[in-house]
């Protein structure tokens, strides 16, 4: 794939001007902590649904799923289906109940009944861990993408991305992050729709014909149209499914979105719209992946890389007229800009979540015990954002040229084994105690980590000690058992007494935080 060209420069200039304008507009509206962390709770359900789509779809997710379909056909789509089902878990088990009871972070809701300092420390540390892992995978993706499409050095690309998200988070907080997500999701949806419709047009708008053509061009032939090219083991597949579905329901950057809407109705409408947008986008990526398989030349398929991550840009260039052509260059430049905006908005959402954990939970509520002004809480948030950016950039440098595909599965397993059990039990089980939550989170983190290290994807030797490729099928039940055992062995009368307040507030919305602008 060719490097930079005049079009790339022009398209990126337009992107920078557009997002810069958003930034300036947003910064005027950031006046209080409610604005900085929750965009004044003034985002409508529809807007938040679009923003949630942006928060959920990173560049790596999107390019990755097109690549998976190029390589594995049917099985490549199973990840996307799992994530979509995960939104049902978000809506049913967390969504509006978290919106009703919380203020800026998950801990704000949990500590209505559980111990302030231990819970905030542990949940915030876990949020930071999940956020940094998500940040590194996305920075790596952005670096590789900019290197391939624009021709800048990997490290420079990572730094450019980091400086850009720093500007967004530090200056405009959640207001600008939300606007950025909406712009990104719209651009992403637009380009995905155009490419998918183009592919369908080349197949006479007959999915059957597109699928036949893809199978005919696949080295796997008929098997491209049936399961079995990627996922072959029942236990591993179900384990991955559990991680994807329940992991979504514990993902901190997604859950923070719920605090930006005015009420529970808007919270559930957000999920409703997000499920529609994300579902349609996934269907479009399936079409694009099949198009890449059916229409790319063998040279172009090689250019898509061993994991197929550059399949989408290769297809875009092919549709524009091929490498070196006028149309190919223009399309590639537009695609590169959209992909960059996608990665940028995603990391901005992740970083503001990490900053909320570090500043609102750890600094304001654990270290200063709540005796802190909003002004200094936001100042600390801006400083920690800088710190998180530096850590992310250094880690992204360290993982250059390393295959970290397993990280995505691990992050979802981690989220499913920590935040999900704690949220479920805090909202639904009266005898759940602070100690139970701490024991549960520790068990979830340790089990997920150890099983991942011992798994075939990570273990350096030929035969790994554990055959399980994703830990969720073991770590999620163990985390629940540990929560139960910890609560039974170390019960807390206060935690149980305050259960009424959390459950009534979560179910009725009584006393819920309201919009401020």
């Amino acid at each position: 794939m060719s490097g930079g060209n005049g079009f790339t420069f022009a398209v990126f200039a337009v992107l920078v001007a557009l997002t810069g304008w958003i930034l300036v507009r947003a910064s005027r509206r950031v006046k209080t902590a409610d604005h900085f962390w929750a965009a004044g709770r003034s985002i409508t359900g529809t807007q938040n649904g679009v923003a949630m789509t942006g928060d959920f779809l990173g560049a790596a997710t999107l390019l990755g799923s097109v690549g998976l379909i190029l390589l594995f056909g049917f099985d490549g789509a199973l990840y996307s289906v799992g994530w979509l089902v995960g939104f049902v878990a978000v809506l049913f088990f967390v969504g509006e109940r978290l919106r009703n009871a919380g203020r800026y972070t998950i801990s704000d809701a949990l500590t209505i009944r559980l111990g302030q300092r231990p819970i905030r420390s542990v949940i915030a540390a876990n949020t930071l861990l999940i956020s940094v892992l998500l940040l590194v995978t996305q920075l790596l993706g952005a670096g590789i993408l900019l290197k391939a499409l624009v021709g800048v050095d990997y490290r420079l690309a990572v730094i450019i991305t980091a400086v850009a998200f720093l500007a967004y988070v530090v200056i405009g907080g959640m207001v600008s992050v939300t606007l950025l997500q909406i712009v990104k999701a719209t651009m992403l949806g637009g380009i995905t729709l155009v490419v998918a419709v183009w592919v369908l047009a080349k197949s006479s708008f007959d999915p059957g014909q597109l699928l036949s053509r893809a199978a005919a061009h696949s080295p796997d032939g008929e098997r491209y149209l049936e399961p079995g090219l990627f996922l072959t083991n029942t236990v591993n597949t179900v384990s991955l499914g559990i991680a994807l579905v329940l992991g979504v329901a514990g993902l901190p950057n997604l859950l923070m979105r719920f605090f930006t809407v005015p009420d529970k109705g808007a919270a559930r409408r957000s999920v409703g719209w997000a499920v529609v947008f994300i579902g349609v986008l996934y269907l479009l990526t399936f079409v694009i992946g099949l198009g890449a398989r059916g229409f790319l030349t063998s040279g172009e398929v090689t250019g898509a890389g061993p994991a197929g991550n550059l399949a989408a840009p290769e297809l875009v260039q092919h549709l524009g007229g091929g490498a070196g052509s006028w149309g190919g260059k223009l399309f590639l430049a537009v695609f590169a800009a959209v992909a960059f905006a996608t990665a940028l908005a995603y990391v901005a959402g992740v970083v503001i979540t990490a900053a909320s954990a570090a500043s609102h939970d750890i600094y304001a509520n654990v270290i200063r015990r709540g005796e802190v002004s909003e002004r200094s809480e936001i100042l600390v948030a801006r400083l920690t954002t800088l710190g998180i950016a530096i850590v992310g950039v250094l880690l992204a440098f360290a993982v250059e040229n390393k295959n970290i595909v397993f990280l995505a599965g691990f992050v979802y397993a981690l989220s499913a084994s920590t935040n999900f059990p704690v949220l479920m039990l805090a909202l639904g089980w009266r005898r759940f105690s602070t100690t139970g939550a701490l024991v549960g989170v520790a068990t979830g983190v340790v089990t997920a980590l150890v099983l991942t290290v011992l798994s075939p994807d990570v273990w350096p030797g030929d035969t790994s000690p554990v055959g399980l490729t994703n830990p969720a099928i073991v770590s999620v039940p163990l985390a629940f058992i540990a929560c139960w055992l910890g609560s039974v062995l170390w019960p807390n009368a206060g935690d149980a007494r305050r259960y009424a307040q959390l459950s009534v507030r979560a179910a009725t919305g009584l006393g819920a935080e309201r919009a401020t602008s």
Partner: protein, 158 residues
């Protein structure tokens, strides 16, 4: 960089005092609200998750059966995958519908009953410190936003 208001309001405990939560929890109307939620969520979650995990198990164990052609390259497996999308959209649509039509009015009834029974303590002498109560009034409405400075009356930090 925009300046943040010099609010000295401490960022503190998120619990709200002045409401008799236990009394609300004992209210049969509240039990009915929880039962209404369960009546939709439990069966819908079972259907949705059973469909997804059943599909996964089927995909791994009967790949060739799912590879049977329907039209062109469109197979039984693709059809089933499409059904999962439809199930997800259906249960999410059903949830938003039943939540708005049944649960929200029931939640409003629970809150109104609690107010009538005196379980929610209005403190007129310090209105700015009891928005946990003010916030009750416009259930599901956002028209009259409270000023930022008015925080709920908090219990002392534990």
């Amino acid at each position: 960089m925009p300046d943040v208001e010099t609010s000295r309001a401490p960022v503190e405990d998120t619990t709200i005092a002045g409401v008799d939560w236990d009394a609300i929890e004992r209210d049969p109307a509240y039990h009915e609200l929880l039962a209404m939620r369960r009546r939709y969520i439990v069966p819908a979650a079972i259907v949705c998750f059973a469909a997804y995990f059943g599909f996964l198990v089927l995909a791994v164990n009967a790949p060739h059966a799912l590879g049977s052609r329907i039209s062109g390259g469109f197979t039984v497996g693709h059809l089933l995958m499409g059904c999962i999308f439809l199930v997800v959209w259906a249960v999410v649509w059903g949830y938003t519908r039943v939540a708005t039509r049944q649960w929200d009015p029931q939640a409003a009834r629970v809150i109104a009953a609690a107010e009538a029974a005196g379980a929610i303590d209005r403190t007129p002498e310090s209105p700015s410190r009891a928005p946990g109560v003010e916030q009750v009034v416009p259930v599901g409405e956002i028209s009259d936003a409270a000023p930022t400075s008015s925080r709920a009356r908090r219990e002392p930090a534990r």
